[in-house]
């Protein structure tokens, strides 16, 4: 019966439920729970969430990636310049944006695996390099840091950057399933499902855990650790570009502003989601729950009567509590072997 508490997601789930109830109560008056209200924090969460999952993979594998802060704008402006400046078709622009991001991720991965320099430092360097290139190339080629998007058609808008609602009936008998959810929300959920498969069901997941648990042993066991790590850096860079593109399509403009805040946001979501900072442990479900928790705290404060300035404080406390709780749950999980299992 106690086994549910031994599941690795238990900490993240408990935190989510607590925060959710708290804000549902204190935000009730201001429609925290209505479809439109929920969309505010779900849309916000989806953008962090798309990056949090691959950054979480990297953390499980024992690495960090903070270059995502510069890859979000890079994703957007590559798409904007490809369509606007070079007159490319939108799909070609999207493909190009992914390629550029993948290449930067590849460089991150190569530097980390070849030089043994900690990934925090390597990606800190690429963060600034890419941020600099974003601004420089933008100004040199287009003479501006603010680009408008061209060639967005109905399909690309629907898939990448639109608001979606699902409402049955109308008038008084109207049932709203969801309202004004951005495309990025659906991308996030779909991506999470694929990542769940990769980490928890496919053999690759085992490799990622093994690599984070003991890098040398994993290599000795025949796991292609370098290649896998490079692939993970490419994935997180491309996920960040994806976020940049969804923002660009939604707003019809892309800017070169580096999103330093998003770096912290992704790391907070991953840690609140129960991923072990030192690697070797974590779940996709936990990361998704951690992101939802973070989204609620970050946006939910607007639905309550609390002062807005308190949300940073809330997040700090949340992070500390989450880390302490995750430790407890993890100890429970490993000590499960001494407790007799009831059949």
């Amino acid at each position: 019966m106690l086994n549910i508490f031994r599941r690795p997601e238990a900490g993240a789930a408990a935190g989510f439920i607590l925060i959710f109830i708290f804000f549902s109560v204190f935000g009730w008056e201001k429609n925290f729970l209505t479809p439109l209200g929920a969309s505010t924090w779900l849309n916000f969460a989806s953008k962090v969430g798309i990056m949090a999952i691959p950054v979480g993979f990297l953390m499980i594998a024992g690495e960090l990636d903070i270059s995502v802060g510069a890859l979000i704008p890079a994703g957007g402006i590559v798409l904007a310049m490809a369509t606007g400046l070079f007159g490319l078709n939108i799909w070609a622009g999207i493909a190009l944006s992914f390629c550029v991001a993948g290449f930067i991720g590849y460089i991150n991965g190569m530097l980390v695996t070849r030089t043994q320099v900690p990934s925090l430092i390597v990606t800190l360097a690429t963060l600034f390099v890419v941020a600099g290139l974003n601004a420089y190339i933008s100004k040199q080629l287009a003479g501006t840091t603010q680009h408008s998007l061209k060639d967005v058609g109905p399909i690309s808008e629907f898939l990448m950057g639109d608001y979606h609602s699902l409402i049955f009936g109308d008038g008084d008998s109207k049932i709203t399933i969801f309202r004004s959810l951005q495309s990025s929300f659906f991308i996030w959920i779909g991506f999470a499902a694929v990542c769940f498969f990769v980490l928890h069901l496919s053999p690759w997941g085992n490799w990622i855990f093994a690599m984070g648990g003991d890098q040398d042993s994993a290599r000795n066991a025949g796991i292609p650790t370098s290649r896998l790590k490079i692939a993970l850096f490419m994935l997180s860079a491309m996920a960040a570009a994806m976020v940049g593109m969804t923002e660009a399509v939604l707003a019809n403009t892309a800017s070169t502003t580096t999103q330093f805040g998003m770096i912290f946001n992704t790391i907070i979501c991953v840690v609140v989601g129960g991923v072990l900072l030192t690697g070797g442990f974590g779940t996709v479900t936990g990361t998704v729950l951690g992101t939802l928790t973070f989204g609620i705290v970050f946006q939910g404060i607007n639905f309550t009567t609390f002062d807005k300035d308190l949300n940073m404080l809330f997040i700090g406390v949340l992070l500390l509590v989450a880390v302490l709780m995750n430790d407890t749950f993890r100890n429970l999980a490993t000590s499960a072997s001494t407790a007799k299992k009831k059949k």
């Binding site: 053999p203 994993a218 490993t334």
Partner: protein
């Protein structure tokens, strides 16, 4: 002994890490159904030697042959695919992963088809628990338990059981008995004999003369990265082997020196 072909052979192998020379001109053969005991002081280069055989390191000079054909293992996977299974001195298990996932790390059994192949948890757990129980660790009965909750010896047993399960031609054990209790150590020695009987070539590293004498057919002693002695079972006495293992120092005189020291400074 008849002139059998060695399974694995090292010819004039040198290994250096940058400016540090660790192995010098190693010539070594391992045969089917034979246990080679690799002996030597701390830092003599034993682990480096077997890591070179296991594809973790590549020789700086010289060559390796398998079944008489020159081979080069660029990564551990290539050695494994040739049937060489290794239990390294450190690590080998992942504390926050389940027993089943540990056992099959890197060689996961899958079910399903195409890109939807999934890790076959049930089979993995069944085999892992069975193999570990065969090893005498009957306390382990649930493949989903995390390895972090096992004792050091149990983890070591898991790593050895894994290598025995996957080792097809050559089994390399780097100080497998170091963390083990008397019963489990005896079991490892039995496993080594069993592997030998099945025709595997076994390389066994140990610091314990007793363990070496119990299973070894062939002994090689490394001193500062070079093979200082290479002899067969029965060619040297226990005392001589002990002296060689201490790096060529005379154990008897060492013991006498310790005795004298104790007599000069009796415990207060």
């Amino acid at each position: 002994m008849s002139e059998r072909k060695p399974v694995l052979e090292m010819r004039n192998v040198d290994k250096s890490f940058g400016p540090i020379d660790v192995l010098h001109d190693i010539n070594l053969k391992v045969h089917e159904g034979e246990v080679l005991c690799l002996l030597g002081d701390n830092g003599a280069g034993k682990s480096t030697l077997i890591k070179t055989m296991a594809g973790v390191h590549q020789p700086t000079r010289g060559e390796m042959k398998m079944d008489g054909k020159a081979v080069r293992f660029n990564r551990p996977k290539e050695a494994q695919e040739m049937g060489i299974a290794t239990v390294h001195q450190f690590g080998g298990t992942y504390p926050l992963m389940s027993i089943g996932r540990n056992f099959f790390a890197g060689v996961e059994p899958t079910k399903g088809w195409g890109p939807f192949k999934i890790f076959d948890r049930k089979t993995a757990n069944e085999i892992a628990v069975r193999e570990v129980q065969n090893f005498g660790i009957t306390r382990i009965d649930d493949g989903d338990r995390l390895v972090g909750g096992l004792s050091g010896g149990e983890r070591q047993s898991l790593a050895i059981a894994r290598a025995v399960y996957f080792g097809a031609r050559v089994l390399i054990l780097d100080e497998p008995t170091a963390a083990l209790g008397v019963k489990q150590a005896a079991h490892v020695l039995r496993i080594v004999n069993e592997a030998k009987r099945r025709g595997l070539a076994v390389i066994f590293i140990t610091h314990q003369v007793m363990h070496a004498m119990a299973v070894g057919d062939h002994f090689a002693v490394l001193i500062r990265g070079a093979i200082a002695a290479d002899f067969r079972r029965g060619e040297k006495s226990r005392e001589e082997i002990a002296d060689l293992m201490a790096g060529g120092e005379n154990m008897a005189s060492l013991e006498a020196a310790i005795d004298a020291d104790v007599q000069e400074h009796p415990a207060e």
